[in-house]
Symmetry: C2
Subunit: 352 residues, 2 copies
């Protein structure tokens, strides 16, 4: 630490992203899609577009916000775009919960929520899950605090129903409810249409998982015009040109290509279900994940050891050294071939 850092940040513990590697491995540790982005992305990143990079990107992001709005049947002024959905979550927690505000989230969830609470001085309550790792919606009814919930939740993949989400939103009218739908495309029940009915709901999404664009860094939030105006006020006070021209064009092209992504998402869901069955047959306990990852625990080997053994075989999975989930692995759903290699590797390890 330098001598100059504010005392507020002395004890800040940053988020630890999953490992990024260059060597040839089967990478099932950071919930990326195993498929390349839509071919439309290559088309729009033309030489003409690159030659115009001397000009600033559009700070209003009109092209992208319109494309997103069209997909979800809302108006562009209900869409806020960020440099990844982390950027959207950061602005939302800074703006609506910052400096002494109150926020609650599930105790086991996206590891970034407590980090945001820490950096922005938010009083965070982490609410335990049920024993089966599911979220008890009743814990959030009439909570009278701001709420952030990942749905499907990470790393469990478990979901709240549409009705449960509506009860949470409706019963906390004076607080903001952030539903983080990063993994929603893989067949949960989205609450997106509730943004038209409730002014205290912000639904966030990302291009990183379902749209094969983790390396592009684009996420978005949809909510009432007033909430989006507030987020833009913060953005224009922090980094007005927060998306570059290539991200804007590529993401706008991607989100319009439903045919391509519907096919890829369907493949991932089929592979997920097949892999969960195989793991259960091999003595694993798996949650009913509705995300592009599997949350699994073996009855033959500890999660920590299994992750280490898989790593020796060139397969990366995510192990969290954290109470209550330290005997589970989060395994991204790759291609059918990759998952078969994983299953074979696990058999070799557990039968050795």
């Amino acid at each position: 630490m330098s001598r100059f850092l504010s005392k507020n940040y002395e004890k800040l513990v940053p988020y630890t992203p999953g490992e990024q590697v260059n060597v040839k491995v089967i990478k099932l540790n950071t919930n990326e899609s195993p498929f390349p982005p839509s071919p439309k992305v290559k088309e729009v990143l033309s030489e003409e577009v690159i030659d115009k990079l001397n000009l600033y990107s559009d700070p209003e992001l009109k092209e992208l916000r319109s494309a997103i709005a069209e997909q979800f049947g809302v108006t562009p002024d209900m869409v806020f775009c960020g440099n990844g959905s982390d950027d959207v979550l950061a602005f939302a927690i800074m703006g609506f919960c910052g400096a002494g505000g109150k926020l609650c989230c599930p105790e086991i969830s996206y590891g970034f929520y407590p980090v945001y609470a820490d950096i922005f001085g938010v009083e965070l309550e982490q609410i335990p899950l049920k024993d089966d790792f599911s979220i008890d919606a009743n814990n959030y009814i009439g909570k009278n605090k701001n709420i952030v919930i990942a749905n499907p939740n990470a790393p469990t993949g478990l979901t709240l129903t549409f009705d449960e989400v509506e009860k949470i939103v409706a019963s906390n009218p004076d607080n903001l409810v952030i539903m983080d739908e990063a993994y929603m495309a893989f067949c949960g029940e989205s609450c997106m249409e509730l943004v038209k009915k409730y002014d205290n709901l912000l639904v966030t999404r990302t291009f990183s998982k379902s749209h094969s664009l983790a390396g592009l860094r684009v996420g978005f939030g949809i909510g009432s015009k007033e909430i989006i105006d507030d987020l833009n006020k913060l953005k224009y006070s922090f980094n007005p040109y927060n998306l570059n021209t290539l991200s804007i064009k590529a993401a706008a092209a991607a989100i319009a290509d439903n045919e391509y992504y519907d096919d890829k998402i369907a493949k991932i869901v089929v592979t997920r279900e097949k892999t969960i069955s195989q793991l259960r047959e091999s003595g694993f306990v798996c949650t009913d994940s509705k995300a592009n990852f599997i949350f699994a625990s073996s009855n033959k080997i500890t999660a920590c050891d299994l992750a280490a053994e898989l790593r020796k075989k060139g397969i990366l999975v995510r192990y969290f050294n954290k109470a209550k989930i330290d005997n589970y692995l989060r395994i991204t759903v790759g291609t059918d071939e990759e998952m078969q290699t994983l299953i074979n590797a696990i058999k070799e390890i557990t039968e050795a």
Copy 2:
């Protein structure tokens, strides 16, 4: 405003970026380069790279930090990269001056500094310029506050000498001095080598001006390893993957192509000097700008009227409705042809 925004941000007045337009105009209002980026940028943004966007970008930005470090003769751990230099400045002011810290800057300077102070709760002192718009270095000697100075300054284009900067840095050993060198490539005296001698100096740069990549959103700061570690701590608590893969690769390729950019920068400097001479011959007062813009005031027409008249002719320049500079225009240096069109338009307007 929504009902949910923290009281802290109720009165926040965001930064106003220069207008971005789609129609065909001569755009001399946001200090973009008139030249396309290096051809090397197109080469590295290959189809193979785009097809791999399903994978996360490198949060450590190793490729880009190494390329920048090599250019400036420092080690990569002395380089922090941001999503534009606004991102670097935001993290620096948040981390080193935030929550009650003290900061000073020139009264006439980059309009974002007071916005950062506002959003991060910093006590800001804005120090007047001399009557000729130059910065009096003596005002910053032994100041005992954090300091941010744009060198060359904006919108004046005037510079501090290397010796003046060193005196400021050396006389404030217990405070951070941020030298914002966004426009330094256009022939000022950089203080970059002082980062090896002083641990309280952070020098920021951008790819937006000299490197024709405003639309790519890449900036960086160079300072002691401890300062860079602190900035990374904040980044990993806010948005770990803050640059996308395309930005990393394109910026790394660009900064290595000295031959291309030296030529373009030299052209801009020649055009700047020629245009300043022509304006002075036409009765304008111009500062001795060392940036890629001209700061000019006519004795025949108010700046506000001139900007409006130029706009009618399809030429955009930047007018600041702000005390002390409201009779000056900031005019980006475009190509020789664009500047000749500007000069001709000004003659038509002022002789009409």
